[in-house]
Symmetry: C2
Subunit: 327 residues, 2 copies
């Protein structure tokens, strides 16, 4: 059976490169990509385990719950998860929860009747931990501590918040704004970046204004409205920190009202999705390692399905800063 390692050997690259080519995340030179795709075709590589595994497992299906699949971060994450699960012989079922507890509960109920082998929880609401136990199947949290005993994987958001704060401070910003999480949302590892961001900014004697999302459910218009409100209420802002979507909306509105970026206004984005690659001037971004997060989440859940013990219950992967032209 042809594996990803055979493809890598055939193409003369590492398995990580093959994985990057397949997921479409991360830079791979055009020539290398073409060589890898050629090897895939020549070796007739496909996730061959799949059909075989189906005979040994109940369903071969793993469910992934996210707030909204059309959000760039979650679409890239689920894309990478699908690739990784497919390579391991599993199929991916997606569930959108719209940041709503109702949906999450209903999906849980449904998954209880459904024959899925495991569940990756990337949704954002909080349920009692016995809700997860009662599923009687492997569960992991993505960016979310579901209970003491349920393993989770997340990016090192504290470092992310610190890097962002230091970048804006280093540029001389004195009027800093961050777009934060809704206050009534459960504390996730990712919300730690906001706490740390504020702490670092204030330690430098600079006030930090936080704008919370007014609601749990977010469409594109929410970002635009929140940013417009911020510019109105706080016109002296000279440094902005927020997810890619907030940062992109801030950049667009800043340019449209004639603010010069980065001369008068600095922006640091958080996530590092494809969106940030299409903007001008290019955003400075704290990048989450989306592929690696997906890879580790899939490794954890499939290990658990195979009955193996997950030794490291909390896995934090490093973030990185990609300097653009907005700082």
């Amino acid at each position: 059976m042809v594996t990803i390692h055979d493809v890598a050997r055939h193409a003369g690259v590492g398995a990580a490169t093959v994985s990057r080519v397949l997921s479409g995340n991360g830079y791979v030179k055009l020539e290398t990509r073409e060589r890898v795709m050629q090897s895939i075709r020549q070796l007739n590589y496909t996730p061959n385990e799949m059909a075989r595994n189906l005979y040994y497992r109940k369903s071969g299906i793993i469910a992934v719950m996210v707030p909204m699949l059309s959000h760039p971060f979650f679409s890239e994450l689920v894309n990478a998860i699908e690739v990784s699960l497919c390579n391991k012989g599993y199929q991916t079922m997606v569930c959108n929860t719209f940041y709503e507890k109702n949906y999450e509960l209903r999906y849980l109920e449904m998954l209880r009747c459904q024959r899925v082998d495991g569940i990756i929880f990337g949704a954002h609401m909080s349920l009692a931990s016995d809700q997860y136990r009662s599923l009687h199947r492997p569960v992991i949290g993505f960016d979310r501590r579901l209970s003491e005993e349920i393993p989770f994987v997340a990016a090192d958001h504290e470092t992310g918040g610190r890097l962002a704060a230091l970048e804006l401070i280093g540029c001389g910003c004195r009027n800093i704004v961050q777009f934060g999480d809704a206050e009534d949302r459960v504390a996730t590892p990712s919300s730690r970046r906001h706490t740390v961001f504020r702490k670092v900014v204030e330690e430098h004697g600079i006030p930090c204004h936080s704008y919370s999302e007014r609601q749990k459910y977010s469409s594109i218009d929410d970002y635009d409205e929140a940013v417009a409100r911020m510019f109105e209420e706080y016109p002296e802002v000279d440094g902005i920190f927020g997810t890619d979507l907030y940062a992109a909306a801030s950049l667009r509105q800043a340019l449209s009202i004639g603010r010069r970026v980065p001369e008068d206004l600095r922006i640091v984005a958080y996530d590092g999705t494809h969106l940030t690659r299409f903007l001008y001037p290019e955003l400075t971004v704290i990048c989450q390692p989306i592929n690696e997060l997906a890879e580790e989440a899939c490794r954890m859940i499939t290990d658990m399905i195979k009955g193996e013990e997950v030794l490291k219950k909390e896995l934090l992967l490093p973030v990185s800063i990609r300097k653009g032209r907005t700082t």
Copy 2:
């Protein structure tokens, strides 16, 4: 049981508005959105059919095959499909094919052993039509004519191509470029827009340069590289037509080399994904009706699963133009 119509009545809006709020596509005023979400919470609305239906069906799962889930068009499409299927009591399984026949064949094989109730084919490669027949379950094509007897749904791409051409011509463009499909890819309804675009441009006595994708698999870097090559080979270009990703890459590069948009260079995008909402200046876009396409595809496949005959085998939904600041 609470239905989407109860929510609509409770919130004093139409069911289509509730659907728009849930999918996050299309503009809904903040107040209306909040009212709808409040009704959802108050009525404890969830896709209630789901659990019940599971007892009557083999699996309650419908597979959706797309080239790449992280592509904004497909992430928004699959998001809307998940919402619609969920409302109808089905779960969504996603399959990425990476524009590769290998993958598509393997998924077909797997779906044959798997208990999925139906398949929506949004992938782009071409298989013999008996491959689909041998699945022995309901199948529809998304943007793709799989065989004479298999129904499909698509946007009215011919009108889309015509609108784009007329927009650029109307702006006085004399050196027009379009980014087209790979030549070796199967002719889909969507590739018709390129044929029509060229025809309309040439009928006005203007030459039309087409750039084909050099390969089937596309990452962000491909768009950047293709656009950079075009600007090098054809610096006199004054009108560009391409999908959102090509248009966004063109806009970014044009600004970075000091081309004035729209004074020296006009751009029309095709698709109308979220990405276009974040760019400055705002792109002029031919919008596909993503929500309605998803809704119709789901209606078709679930009707077929229920044993109902699909009378209209080819469903083309209207596109629209959204004028921005790039024309």
